[in-house]
Amino acid sequence: MEFAELIKTPRADNVVLHHPFHPPVEGTLCLTGHHLIFSSRRQDNAEELWLLHSNIDSIEKRFSGSLGTITIKCKDLRVIQLDIPGMEECLNIGSSIEALSTLDSVTLMYPFFYRPMFEVLEDGWSSFLLEQEFELLSSVTNEWRLSCINKEFSVCSSYPPVVIVPKSVDDEALRKVAQFRQGGRFPVLSYYHKKNGMAMLRSSQPLTGTNGRRCKEDEKLVNATLRSGRRGFIIDTRPLAVAQQARAKGGGFEQEVHYPQWRRIHKYIERFNILQESFIKLVEACNDQSHNMDRWLSKLEASNWLTHIKELLTAACLAAQCIDREGASVLVHGGEGTDSTLQVTSLAQIILDPRCRTIRGFEALVVREWLQAGHPFQQRCAQSAYSNGKQKWEAPVFLLFLECVWQIHRQFPCSFEFNEHFLILLFEHAYASQFGTFLGNNENERAKLKLPQKTMSLWSWVNRPEELDKFQNPLYEANSLVIWPSVAPQSLQLWEGVFLRWNRSSRFLEEAEEERMNIIKYNKELQAKVNALRRQLAQLETGE
């Protein structure tokens, strides 16, 4: 086993662990191939910590005399500290953790070794197939078809094998369109609004270049989604200037002359490296409790995090508005069509489609609009907010999406079947997990890694009744309406459940939450009892 080579010191005694909300505790530290394990070995109340190496974002070593201190910063934003006696042991453990938490090869990751201790009721890998989605769609419209053009991932390496496209466009045309769009990401159906038959499409930028190249098939494809005489909206997630600059590199945007039925709106959403910087600054601000009020507020402002949230929500509302209020079809794209595009299309569906606000529907949304749509999870979530400034491809694109869902959830607390914990769970698993779901950057890579065969799906685990219970929102009542959130700065809040989670005790808030749930639960019990008693009484009365 190659891990053994990396583990120079598998075990250290008399280690003191400092972790949030607990007094320091002494015990034994063990390193295994995938976990850092700490056990206090007290008989009565053995305190244990199991930490996935892949959850470790960064580590720092410090020495004072022969006592070494390792500070471990996790991708879930927790910070723990280990005091290890013995310089050499500390150095060994430090470098082992460093090596184990930055393994290059995906196949060495824990999901390939994880053996589930639960019974699989439903294989999550086949829970959300696009074919099922299409079946649902076919029951309301026959304007669309399922295309297997990408079966071998030959047309677009970041698309799934099957996609939904307008019926009137054949595979031959799709091939041509794919060549006109960056990375082959031709416009595909993202969402169909049953209420008025309008569609939301997503793609990457068109490769118009400086000489204004056009592609008749592309124009035909997007026009196929329009009702006669009606206009559609193209939401470009880049500012006009950036879109124009993109032409020099072969990219570009849809020219009015070639797309006369479409109105283009530029709604700027920040690119990934800016978002990563923002993430780092926000976490820094939240972690320093010594800030006075002015400093805290200015740091919060300087992080720009809430600005990104507002921009994203606004863009999603715009897309939803075009579809629902204007009765227009919408095409969303940015540059590559794998980040901001997906944020907008998935959030718009949260607003428009009640199904996406159920647990299963939300899972399907994440699978469809993020995993299958080719958001590069492995690149984006390789590092979290403690990455040391040397960012490559990391960005909290998915986290921003989750937070926007949380913001809407706060404004419509009765319209979601799931609770906040469910969103936090997805955040954690996107960054480090025993499940294979978020490994790889697209379906192509997942197929090559044989993830469905070799790893367990997160959904297999989550969708068992005992787990699902934890994520139910007792306030939920199906709400078939479109839900428009407020995007005023006064209406947005810091997501404390993620960013202040380890910085302050939330005991009182949790207890209050529990009390709320009890009131709801008690209400249901009382209702049941009243109904039972009433029946009993009615029986008594008629039974005579």
């Binding site: 009020m293 309406l481 006064q490 209406s491 009182f508 207890e511 009131i519 709801i520 009892k529 005579e544």
Partner: protein
Amino acid sequence: QVEQVKLLDRFSTSNKSLTGTLYLTATHLLFIDSSQRETWILHHHIAAVEKLPLTTSGCPLVIQCKNFRIVHFVVPRERDCHDIYNSLLQLSRTAKYEELYAFSYNPKQNESEQVKGWQLIDLAEEYKRMGVPNAYWQLSDANRDYKICETYPRELYVPRTASKPIIVGSSKFRSKGRFPVLSYYHKNKEAAICRCSQPLSGFSARCLEDEHMLQAISKANPSNRYMYVMDTRPKLNAMANRAAGKGYENEDNYSNIRFQFVGIENIHVMRSSLQKLLEVSGTRGLSVNDFLSGLENSGWLRHVKAVLDAAVFLAKAIAVESASVLVHCSDGWDRTSQVCSLGALLLDSYYRTIKGFMVLIEKDWISFGHKFSDRCCQLDGDPKEISPVFTQFLESVWNLTEQFPQAFEYNEAFLLQIHEHVHSCQFGNFLGNCQKEREELKLKEKTYSLWPFLLAEQKKYQNPLYNPDFCPELTLLEPNTVSFNFKFWRNMYHQFDRSMHPRQSMFSLIMNTSEQNKQLEEDIKELEAKIKQRNGQSDVVLVKEQEQTAHPAPVALKTSPCFQKEQPPMPVNDAVRTIEGSNTADNRYSELVSEFSKAEPAVVSLEYGVARMTC
């Protein structure tokens, strides 16, 4: 009465408006829109009226209210607008107390109810509850005729060892004669919160009686030898006061005191701070960063934190060190009231009950002479005297309720309602600047007390999550005052801007459910009794039973009113309907107000901007 007046949405970027008729009554301004929805604004609530330059659609009139409502009318004819403007200016500025609404307000109570209403809060009773008089503290009659201090109440509690000459001497050495007196007594720790104004020490003056007074307070606490003197002002301000012959205690002259500045800014800083905050939060199309930097620049949250930090310091001195604390600022009626009352709130769970909170306000704010009339501008007066000191106190309490959702019997609506009435001048409690003035105005005969009215509708103000055992009596509530725990109080400053609030309110849902649970419990009792009776009857009186079954409608189904509405098997699911906002072009998510209240079938709760159909 002016017709065809438009009411603009404050945050709308599209000049969307409601058209309706504007009426002026003796006490209120009333706007009724085309769908017969009424907007009432009390003249006393109007803080400022502004006429903007004429536009093509008419003459804009902006009214700012003390409860942070801002309405923007457009009156078609300039002359009408001018008339309304002038009338409002006159109506909103009152010169004499007797012209205030409270003197004409008639809630149809008879005289004995009125008297009883005023007796609801009894401060003598409250001191008894705290455990005074006792071996160390006694009631002093020194101020019985307001001879020593006009702005203090008649009844004051002082250490037994403080003789009349000491009191008189000390009062002469304190601003406005406000000598050290008891504000709160902690029976378990035997420690006291005392309050006063600044000493007239200048650069070197001393007063032996005042020194004796502090010693007496110190000695009245058997469990600790030293006492704290908290000057709630920033050090610089206190030092500047020395030049005017005022100042602060010199530690060398007073034995066993620990002197401490806590740095809360004065009323003028607070006034302009809130003004800045409101300017920012009232901006249309506000960006997140402008909001956050505006919040920072206003300093408002910094000030709220400073007030709460001071209260925590005070409460800890008492609960942890068992040390008595003397609190003062300059005159001892603004910052001192804030810190003493919040300190007591942290120490004593009684003040976290509905009745207890009323007592606290009566004691530390009303009786000790917080100048409500000046600070809230009840009469047309010096604008420099206006300051949101009491609002800030309520906001500090709100912050505590957010951190400890189960520790308070009352909810946010209670705080908002009190704030509303501090400015409404509808009840007598907050009129005037001190007790002496109130007596002269004969408020107890001529006006009504607010508290019985709030108690009568206390269901609205109850916190459904309240757990009386959350914090046993006299254990300290320890809030975390890290900066990120302080939030902008949207429900106060945007109470009337419904588009900003959550579209579904968890709060009202829990309120309703909790209320419904009580009803259901009743129903169950009733049903069980009926069934028991039935069972008994079927054994014994068969004849009667038969008689009843002959009746077309079963008796039980006619019983409780709640019951009849709950015929569907799962009433909860039907009971609460969510609503949808609507909007038009380019993301004006604040356009929702009108549509969404129109579409709504039932009860609209204004405070929380959410409409629900209740069962």
